[in-house]
């Protein structure tokens, strides 16, 4: 029995060692709940803000901005957490909320997200930033007169082209203002492939369902919903009024692309093929700029431009432009935390210091008034900014598609269409059916 006792003692020691380990680390995480305890205190009391965001590209710059802000506001402590990998923000955010450590500031995508997260969203209409937001950027997050999100930035896409290849082929990019002109240019480029040293005219990444199912389809569904994301969100059906034009665009990009397109991904498209001059054109947006810059600074600064995204019968000389993501404030947090969150976002987007950070360090195209055009630091963003001021843009509606419809239904079917195992009619009829089913 005494031997058994010894053994038991050893086991207990092990368990205790384990529990020491547990409590040793566990005690560190208690400051998280500080924020909720100070419910009734005045605003001079220290406030802790947890930010949970998805844009890894601005992780370091945002941390710098936070450090600056905390220096000026010593009673505010901000913890920044960024989700890596770039894919799982939705899942990570749900886990975060379920784990009890709810962030004060997080990201939502558009009307669909607002509907899902509504019980957690604070009204932001009293913020300075909301008043300064460019017309139309708030429609996707406005419900019953309440504003549930503040735009990150403006993004737009079109056909990004290689200036050198175009000039070698003798094509003037400024002359391409219609779909027909685009087709002619593509044919010219295709006939000179050898001299130009390119593998193909396009790189069409059908593997990335967001490129086809969201961005490409958006251009041809936007006119159907008058470019209004809320109309798309509230629509029970989708007609594909511009379905033929959409088919033409897919066929054009697919036929003249590096093959096979069903397995071509974003990295191959932007970096491996376009970034090294193997293709002349890609359908992408201003977000590719930092990527191209990190490949070859000189090329990114001087040799790229963006052609408009033509929709025959609607707008042929325009760019689809919209807000990719919004900042939201958690309504379950105590009032002073919510206020501190709003103050921080106001500072970031409307103070002179914040503006500087947004344009120079985040390299955003601002979605707010009061920014000067020359503060935008990259040529693609500049082109979009100019186009917007000339009214040559149309709105994004894909945030109003039913959950998962754009990528998992339409984008997935487009993969089968380009590899020849599904007819176009089937793609359209399936997409219509799935939309109607989702909105029943």
């Amino acid at each position: 029995m005494s031997r058994f006792g010894k053994g038991l003692a050893l086991l207990l020691v092990l368990l205790m060692a384990f529990s020491v380990l547990i409590s040793g680390c566990g005690s560190k995480s208690t400051d998280q709940s500080n924020a909720s305890q100070s419910k009734t205190e005045t605003t001079n009391k220290p406030v802790t803000l947890d930010i949970f965001q998805f844009k890894v590209e601005i992780k370091d710059a945002l941390q710098n901005a936070i450090n600056t802000y905390m220096k000026e506001n010593p009673n505010v402590k901000i913890n920044l957490e960024t989700v890596g990998g770039g894919q799982d923000y939705g899942a990570a955010l749900k886990a975060k909320f379920n784990s009890g450590s709810e962030p004060a500031i997080f990201n939502v995508g558009g009307p669909q997200d607002v509907a899902t997260w509504k019980p957690k969203l604070a009204d932001l209409s009293d913020t300075k930033a909301a008043k300064e937001a460019i017309n139309g950027t708030l429609t996707g997050v406005t419900q019953d007169g309440k504003i549930y999100g503040l735009p990150f930035d403006l993004e737009g896409y079109g056909l990004i082209y290689n200036k050198q290849i175009f000039s070698k082929a003798g094509i003037d990019p400024s002359s391409i203002k219609t779909f027909d002109a685009l087709v002619n240019a593509v044919k010219t480029l295709d006939s000179k492939k050898k001299e130009l040293g390119i593998e193909a005219v396009f790189a069409f990444p059908a593997k990335e369902t967001w490129v086809t199912g969201l961005h490409l389809s958006n251009a041809f569904l936007s006119p159907e919903f008058d470019g209004d994301v809320m109309k798309a969100f509230n629509s029970k059906t989708v007609e594909f009024k511009y379905g033929d034009a959409m088919k033409q665009m897919i066929d054009l990009q697919n036929k003249y692309s590096v093959q096979p397109t069903a397995s071509l991904d974003y990295s191959t498209q932007v970096e491996k093929l376009f970034g090294t001059g193997k293709v002349a054109m890609i359908q992408q947006g201003n977000w590719v700029y930092p990527t191209l810059e990190s490949l070859d600074k000189n090329f990114a600064e001087n040799d790229i431009g963006m052609l408009p995204y033509p929709v025959p019968g609607y707008k042929e000389d325009s760019y689809p432009e919209g807000v990719p993501m919004y900042w939201a404030v958690n309504s379950d947090k105590p009032a002073e935390v919510q206020k501190a969150a709003k103050d921080f976002l106001d500072w970031l987007y409307t103070s002179d210091e914040g503006k500087q950070i947004v344009t120079q360090q985040f390299k955003f195209v601002p979605a707010y008034n009061g920014y000067s055009a020359d503060s935008i630091s990259d040529p693609l963003g500049m082109q979009l900014f100019v186009a917007a001021s000339q009214g040559k843009t149309y709105g994004w509606v894909f945030m109003g598609y039913p959950n998962n419809w754009g990528q998992n239904v339409l984008g997935a079917d487009i993969q089968l269409y380009v590899n020849g195992s599904l007819t176009w009619d089937k793609v359209i009829s399936h997409a219509k059916q799935a939309w109607a089913d989702a909105r029943k």
Binding site: G5, I22, G84, G85, K94, S99, S101, S267, E271
Partner: protein, 274 residues
């Protein structure tokens, strides 16, 4: 005898050729960890132009290497230790005592291996969040929960091969159960322990999803979490990712080399004791 020799040479050559094919994908990781991004995309397969160490320097700095490394090490070592000790104890009890409960509990452990992680992850973080246990030690405890099934399963199989006469003799000598387990059985299970450690280390050392849900304090992050910051929605820094990956897997490769040697000694030691 000659025929045997020829056969042996042929097998050796075959083995070496196969090994080289097997590790060829690592060639891609290694050579590209020395390239600039442009070079990586223009010439993925070729040798780097120079042995440029910039990627390694940048990666080490961005990874917070010493911190992330020690976090990963602590979590892995503690997890494997408690998985090995506790699951061998459990397997010993379950295998030696033949009652209804032991059969049922063994079944539960086995069947639990079939539960897909994605279906428990949200309730799991909700539960642990409630008890403020989303910490590194909470993570270690989770690894015990997820890893004990395989541990019990492997040890249970190995214990079948260890005769009960050993326990009985010791019991007659008046040894306690724990002593028997600790002094006699556990050393005999060494080969299984090393096998289990080899299997678990690669799982825990490289795990991304679970730590990403559990660890949210800046200073507590593990290597895989930090490596994922090289990848974002639009910008994927492959060159830094490759360098970071090389840094991250090197310790495990070294461990495996050492464990192999240990495995051989352990088997010899076990055989002698038997």
């Amino acid at each position: 005898m000659k025929k045997v020799h020829v056969q042996k040479y042929l097998l050796t050559i075959l083995g070496i050729v196969l090994s080289l094919i097997w590790i060829s994908p690592f060639y891609i990781i290694l050579v590209n960890s020395f390239k600039t991004k442009l070079e990586l995309f223009t010439n993925t397969l070729s040798l780097p132009k120079s042995l440029m160490l910039d990627n390694y320097k940048t990666a080490a700095a961005n990874l917070n290497l010493s911190e992330a490394f020690s976090n990963t090490l602590i979590i892995t070592v503690f997890s494997i230790l408690i998985i090995a000790i506790f699951s061998s104890m459990t397997a010993y009890a379950l295998q030696r005592v033949k009652k209804k409960s032991s059969v049922i509990i063994y079944m539960i452990f086995t069947v639990a291996m079939l539960i897909p992680f994605q279906s428990v992850m949200i309730p799991l973080v909700a539960e642990f969040g409630k008890f403020h246990f989303l910490t590194r030690s909470g993570l270690v405890f989770m690894y015990l929960g997820f890893g004990s099934s395989l541990g019990v399963f492997l040890y249970y199989g190995a214990l079948k091969g260890i005769p009960t006469s050993l326990d009985e003799a010791a019991l007659i000598d008046g040894c306690s159960r724990f002593r028997i387990y600790w002094n006699i059985i556990l050393p005999l299970l060494n080969p299984t322990t090393i096998t289990l450690a080899v299997l678990d280390i690669m799982w825990i050392w490289n795990d991304y999803l679970l730590p990403s849900l559990v660890i949210n304090k800046v200073g507590s992050r593990t290597l895989p979490l930090m490596i994922f910051y090289f990848f974002s929605q639009y910008t994927k820094q492959w060159n830094l990712g490759m360098a970071g990956l090389t840094i991250a897997i090197l310790p495990v490769v070294i461990f495996y080399f050492l464990a192999q040697r240990k495995l051989v000694t352990a088997i010899i030691a076990g055989a002698v004791k038997q």
